[in-house]
Symmetry: C2
Amino acid sequence: MEKQRRNTKTKKLVMDVFRHEAGALCHADLVQRLAGKVDRVTVYRILQRFFDEGVVHKISAENGKTYYALCHDCSAGQHADDHAHFYCMSCKTVSCIEAVGQFPQLPQGYIAAEASWFISGYCPSCRAV
Amino acid sequence: MEKQRRNTKTKKLVMDVFRHEAGALCHADLVQRLAGKVDRVTVYRILQRFFDEGVVHKISAENGKTYYALCHDCSAGQHADDHAHFYCMSCKTVSCIEAVGQFPQLPQGYIAAEASWFISGYCPSCRAV
DNA sequence: CATATTATTGCAACGCTATTGCAATATCGA
DNA sequence: TCGATATTGCAATAGCGTTGCAATAATATG
């Protein structure tokens, strides 16, 4: 049977960080913001849990790190994991963006389970500088 | 000035592995196939060198690993790094695929430097099983 | 061909991201 | 309140990748 879920102070702390940040955060970001309050390992486990529960997106960035972001527009239960993620090479933040248009079709015979589009470049704020 | 380039036995060994494989390979794949012949670290350096020279693609997979694949259809000097990479969840291989159609437009104000589209699913061979 | 220059290699050590085992603790239903 | 068990923190470990350095090998030059 399903494993139960408990609402703990620690989870609330992590969730608070997400709520106060606009973009996506990696494990190190969270640990830094929760320094002295939550253990490194616990942060890993909570992120995994949140992901399993469908509360956050998981984003594998080009730099090898994994970022997490709160799900906002995901229709109930269904992850919109094919939306795009943007990494700004200037301010070094990762964010979810709304791209316009359809994605290309896969060649015949391929079955897609998940897809991710990852773009590196400059965000509107940094571009001006 | 530019650093010189030397053609060594070791580089040829690595290149041979690429030539005898269809899909993309990660560092561990190469080390395994070259066990006893080439050092781990050297493989890292050669891969980096090949990438700098534009000989191979670099693919960041969802599993956090980095894959490399020979460039085939890249027009001279210009990387076609916006093509798609496919990870087959069954045979666990990464390959470059030719997707049909345009990619979505970024929102106003964003400037893209690089983009990658990564899809996980089942390839034609495994799908049949 | 002999020699000097320096790119390249292998080895050891290190750094960073992430995971696992386990005892102690905290949550939540009864 | 109390018991079952999900959760946490700590220590240890695993995996991927990098750096420093001395030894080696590829290339240009005489």
